[in-house]
C-alpha cells in the first residue's frame, strides 16, 4: 500500500495556480474577458467588500484609536499601539478570557472529534434503520449556535433541571451546574461536544471512501480489528480528520452564543464562561471601548491564523493523501 502525498483536492479549487498561469501567459485579448469576469464576480465582490473587507480594514484602523461608538469618526483619536499594549500588559480579564477559551477548545474539540469518529464508526455498518440513527445523531448540530438550544441547556442543567432529576433517580445529589463557577464552562463543553453531528457526517463520508480491499488484505495478513483501525482506517481517514480538526478548532475558539445566553451576556458566574469573543463583545458594546475591542479582534484573527498555520505545517507528518489510483 503506497501512500503518496499528492495535492489534496479539498485544498485547491479547480482553478489551481498552474492552470491559471498557463491561461494567463500568452494572450492580450484577455482584457475584455477579464472585464466580463469581474462583472460576473461583482455580486460576490460587492458583498465581500461591503460586508467583510471594508469593515475589517476599518476595524484595523479603529484598533489604533480610542473609538467608543458614540463619538463620531471625525473626532476619534489615534492612540498608536496603546490598545495592544494594554491588552498584553494591563488587562487581567483579557488574559482570563484567553485562558477560558483555550481550556474550552483544548478539551471540547478533541472530545467532540472523538465522539464524532466513534459514532461514525458505529453507524458505518449496514444495519436496518441505520439511516434513522444517522439522522438523529446529526440533528443536534443542525440547531448549531441557536439561542433556543442554549436556553434549553440552561434549564436542563439548573439546580432543579432535568439532569439533576435524572441524577436523583440514582441517589446522586446534583449541583447547580450552570450557576456554579467550577462547572459552568464544562456544561458549555458538553453542549459543544453533543453537537458532533457535522464532523460525524464528514467522517462517515470519509469511511465510505476507504476501499474494502484494504481491510480484506489486512485481515488476510492476520490483522485484528484494532490493527485494522490503526493501520488502515486512521491513515486513510487522516485528511478528513485534518479537515475536521482545523474547522472545529476555529469553531471552538469562536464559541459565543451559548456562553452569552448562559451568562445573560456577562460571562458569569465569576467570569467562568468569559469566552474571548464574549469578552470582546462586552468590551465593545457594553463598556463602549470599540477601539480596544477591535484590537482584540485582530489579535484573535492572528492567533487563529498562527494556530491554523501550525496545523498545516505539522499536517505533512501525519496526513496521508491517497488519490486511490496507485494502490
Amino acid at each position: 500500500m503506497a501512500l503518496t502525498t499528492a495535492p489534496d483536492p479539498t485544498r485547491r479549487g479547480p482553478g489551481s495556480d498552474r492552470a491559471h498561469a498557463e491561461r494567463r501567459g500568452p494572450g492580450r485579448l484577455r482584457n475584455s474577458e477579464g472585464l466580463a469576469g469581474y462583472v460576473f464576480l461583482s455580486p460576490w465582490l460587492i458583498g465581500l467588500m461591503g460586508i467583510t473587507a471594508i469593515p475589517m480594514l476599518l476595524s484595523l484602523y479603529l484598533s489604533f484609536t480610542n473609538y467608543d461608538i458614540l463619538t463620531p469618526f471625525s473626532e476619534v483619536e489615534w492612540v498608536g499601539l496603546a490598545n495592544y499594549r494594554r491588552m498584553f500588559t494591563a488587562d487581567p480579564s483579557y488574559w482570563h478570557a484567553v485562558r477560558v477559551t483555550l481550556t474550552f477548545a483544548l478539551i471540547a474539540v478533541p472530545l467532540k472529534l472523538a465522539a464524532a469518529l466513534g459514532v461514525a464508526l458505529l453507524l458505518n455498518r449496514a444495519w436496518r434503520g441505520v439511516g434513522l440513527f444517522r439522522g438523529l445523531f446529526y440533528l443536534p448540530s443542525l440547531l448549531g449556535g441557536s439561542v433556543a438550544l442554549a436556553i434549553v441547556w440552561v434549564n436542563m442543567f439548573n439546580r432543579d433541571g432535568a439532569f439533576n432529576s435524572l441524577l436523583s433517580l440514582f441517589g446522586i445529589e446534583g449541583r447547580p451546574w450552570v450557576n456554579d463557577p467550577d462547572w459552568a464552562l464544562e456544561t458549555l463543553m458538553v453542549l459543544a461536544i453533543w453537537q458532533f453531528g457535522a464532523p460525524m457526517v464528514i467522517f462517515l463520508a470519509g469511511l465510505k471512501q476507504v476501499p474494502t480491499e484494504l481491510y480484506e488484505a489486512a485481515s488476510v495478513d492476520g490483522a485484528g480489528r484494532f490493527r485494522q483501525f490503526r493501520n488502515v482506517t486512521l491513515p486513510m481517514l487522516s485528511p478528513v480528520i485534518f479537515f475536521n480538526l482545523v474547522l472545529e478548532t476555529i469553531n471552538g475558539f469562536q464559541g459565543f452564543t451559548a456562553a452569552f445566553v448562559l451568562s445573560n451576556g456577562t460571562g458569569g458566574p465569576v467570569d467562568s464562561t468569559l469566552m474571548y469573543t464574549l469578552n470582546l463583545y462586552i468590551t465593545g458594546f457594553t463598556d463602549l471601548e470599540m477601539g480596544y475591542a477591535s484590537a482584540m479582534a485582530w489579535v484573535f484573527l492572528l492567533a487563529i491564523a498562527v494556530i491554523t498555520a501550525i496545523f498545516f505545517s505539522t499536517g505533512r507528518f501525519w496526513v496521508h493523501y491517497s488519490d486511490g489510483e496507485d494502490r
Partner: protein, 449 residues
C-alpha cells in the same frame, strides 16, 4: 464582528495565491476607500447642525426608542397616539425591547448614524452618553419654558444635569425598594420588616425567616450597586465624588463581610441562587421565583413584580436610615444631539410629563410622575393595588429623602459589572472579602480613568 471569517472564505494559509496586477490595484482602491470612509461617516455625523423645524405644520416622523415590557409599550403607544391626535403632523416610529441588550442596541444605532430622535435612558448610562456629547443639552428649552419643569421637585430634574448640561429629563421618580413576600410571612406568623430597621436587624430578621419557612430570608445584595450605594451614604460616603470613587477598599471589605456573616447565618440563599437573583430581569427576582423572601429592587417595579407571582408583596425602604435614599429619576427622556426634529422631540417630552391626559395614561409605570400636581391626580385616580402601594410607600419616603447624589460618572456601567464579579467571587468563597474588595477597587480605577 466575525474576525475569523476570512479563513473560511479565503485561500488556505501558507499557500498564498499569486496576486495578479488588477487585484493589487483593487487592493489599493480598497485602502483608499477605507481611509476615506471614516471621513465620510464623520462628516455625515456632524452634519445637519441647523436644528429645528421651520414650518410647525410640516409632517414629522419622530423615532422613539425605549425599553420595557408589553404593559409599558401599550401605555406609551396610547400616550403617543394622543400626541398625534393633538398634532396630526407628527407621527412616531416606535421601537421598544427588553432591558437586556437595550443599551447595546442604542449604541449600535448611534454608531450606525441612525440613532432615534428621542430615547429612554437611565442614570447608569446618562453620563456615558452626555460625556460623549450624544445628548442634546435641554437647558435652553427649560429656560424658554418649552420644557416645563416648574412643577418638578428641583432635585429630580437636577438629577439629569451632567457637567452643567441638562442631558435628560426625568420620566418619573423612584427610589430603592425592598420588596418582601407578605403571604409567606403571614402564613408563618412572622413580623413584616419595617423601614428604619438597621442592617443587622434586617439580617437577624431574615435569619429567623429562613429558620421558620425554609425560604431564605433575603437576597444577598452585596453585588448590587444600589444597595451598596445606600449603605455608603448612610456613613457619609458616596459612590462617586467628582471624578473619583467616593469609597475605599476598607468600606467594600466591611460591606462584603457584612454579607458573608449573613450567608454564614443562612439569612441568604446559596451563592448559585444569589447569582440567579443578580440578573436584572424582573422575572428572575428571587421574591417572585420563590427562592427568597425579599428582593432589592426599585420601588416602581412593584406592579411588574406583582404580575409574576400570586403572593402578596410588600415594599419598604432599604435598611438603615432612609434619608440615604433620594428622589431618583427612574429613567430619563433624552434627545439625540444630531436630531433634525429636536424641537418636536422636546415638545413630546414636555407632553409626556406635563399633559394631564398623557400622564394619567402612563400612570406610574416609569415611576411616580415627575410633575407633582399630576402625581396627586394619578395617585387619586389609580385603581391598581400594587401601584397604589408603591405610590403610598414612595409618598411616605419622600418626607425622609436626603439630598440627591451626583449622577454616576462615565465608566459606571463597568463599575456595576465589576461589583457583581467581585461580590460573587466572595460569595462563592473564591476570594476573601478583602481580596475581592481590592480587586474591585483596582478594576473601578481603570474603568473610570
Amino acid at each position: 464582528m466575525h474576525p475569523a471569517t476570512p479563513f473560511t472564505t479565503d485561500a488556505p494559509v501558507g499557500r498564498a495565491h499569486r496576486t495578479p496586477l488588477p487585484r493589487r490595484r483593487l487592493l489599493r482602491g480598497l485602502l483608499a476607500v477605507t481611509v476615506a470612509a471614516p471621513l465620510l461617516f464623520g462628516a455625515a455625523a456632524c452634519g445637519d447642525d441647523d436644528g429645528g423645524a421651520a414650518d410647525p405644520n410640516a409632517p414629522v416622523k419622530l423615532s422613539i426608542f425605549w425599553w420595557g415590557g408589553d404593559a409599558r409599550a401599550k401605555l406609551t403607544e396610547d400616550a403617543l397616539a394622543l400626541y398625534t391626535k393633538k398634532h396630526p403632523n407628527v407621527t412616531f416610529e416606535k421601537t421598544w425591547q427588553a432591558n437586556q441588550g437595550y443599551f447595546d442596541k442604542l449604541a449600535t444605532l448611534t454608531a450606525g448614524g441612525n440613532p432615534p430622535d428621542l430615547f429612554q435612558i437611565d442614570d447608569n448610562y446618562l453620563a456615558e452618553y452626555a460625556a460623549r456629547n450624544s445628548t442634546l443639552d435641554l437647558t435652553s428649552y427649560q429656560k424658554s419654558g418649552k420644557l416645563d419643569t416648574s412643577k418638578f421637585p428641583e432635585s429630580l430634574w437636577q438629577y439629569g444635569v451632567v457637567d452643567g448640561k441638562l442631558a435628560g429629563l426625568a420620566a418619573g421618580e423612584n427610589t430603592q425598594g425592598l420588596v418582601y413576600n407578605k403571604t409567606l410571612l403571614t402564613k408563618h406568623n412572622l413580623p413584616e420588616p419595617t423601614t428604619g430597621m438597621t442592617w443587622e436587624e434586617h439580617i437577624a430578621w431574615a435569619e429567623q425567616v429562613t429558620a421558620k419557612t425554609n425560604v431564605p430570608g433575603t437576597q444577598d445584595p452585596s453585588a448590587d450597586y444600589k444597595a451598596l450605594w445606600v449603605w455608603l451614604r448612610q456613613q457619609g460616603k458616596d459612590l462617586y465624588q467628582g471624578k473619583e470613587l467616593g469609597f475605599t477598599a476598607e468600606d467594600v471589605t466591611r460591606w462584603f463581610d457584612l454579607w458573608r456573616g449573613a450567608r454564614d447565618r443562612k439569612a441568604t440563599p446559596t451563592p448559585d441562587v444569589i447569582h440567579e437573583g443578580n440578573a436584572t430581569d424582573i422575572t428572575k427576582q428571587l421574591v417572585v421565583t420563590g427562592k427568597a423572601a425579599t428582593s432589592w429592587v426599585w420601588a416602581n417595579q412593584m406592579p411588574d413584580l406583582k404580575k409574576n407571582t400570586k403572593d402578596e408583596l410588600g415594599v419598604i425602604a432599604y435598611p438603615g436610615d432612609p434619608s440615604a435614599q433620594w428622589a431618583r429619576a427612574s429613567m430619563y427622556w433624552s434627545v439625540f444631539k444630531g436630531s433634525k426634529n429636536r424641537d418636536v422631540a422636546v415638545d413630546v417630552i414636555n407632553f409626556l410629563n406635563n399633559d394631564v391626559e398623557a400622564v394619567k395614561l402612563l400612570g406610574t409605570d416609569r415611576g411616580l410622575p415627575s410633575n407633582l400636581d399630576l402625581r396627586r391626580v394619578v395617585s387619586d385616580d389609580t385603581t391598581d393595588p400594587a401601584m397604589k402601594q408603591s405610590i403610598a410607600v414612595e409618598a411616605e419616603l419622600t418626607q425622609k429623602f436626603g439630598k440627591s447624589p451626583q449622577v454616576p460618572i462615565k465608566g459606571h456601567s463597568k463599575v456595576k459589572s465589576e461589583l457583581i464579579k467581585a461580590a460573587e467571587n466572595a460569595q462563592y468563597g473564591r476570594a476573601s472579602s478583602a481580596e475581592a474588595a481590592t480587586q474591585f477597587i483596582e478594576a473601578c480605577k481603570s474603568a473610570i480613568a
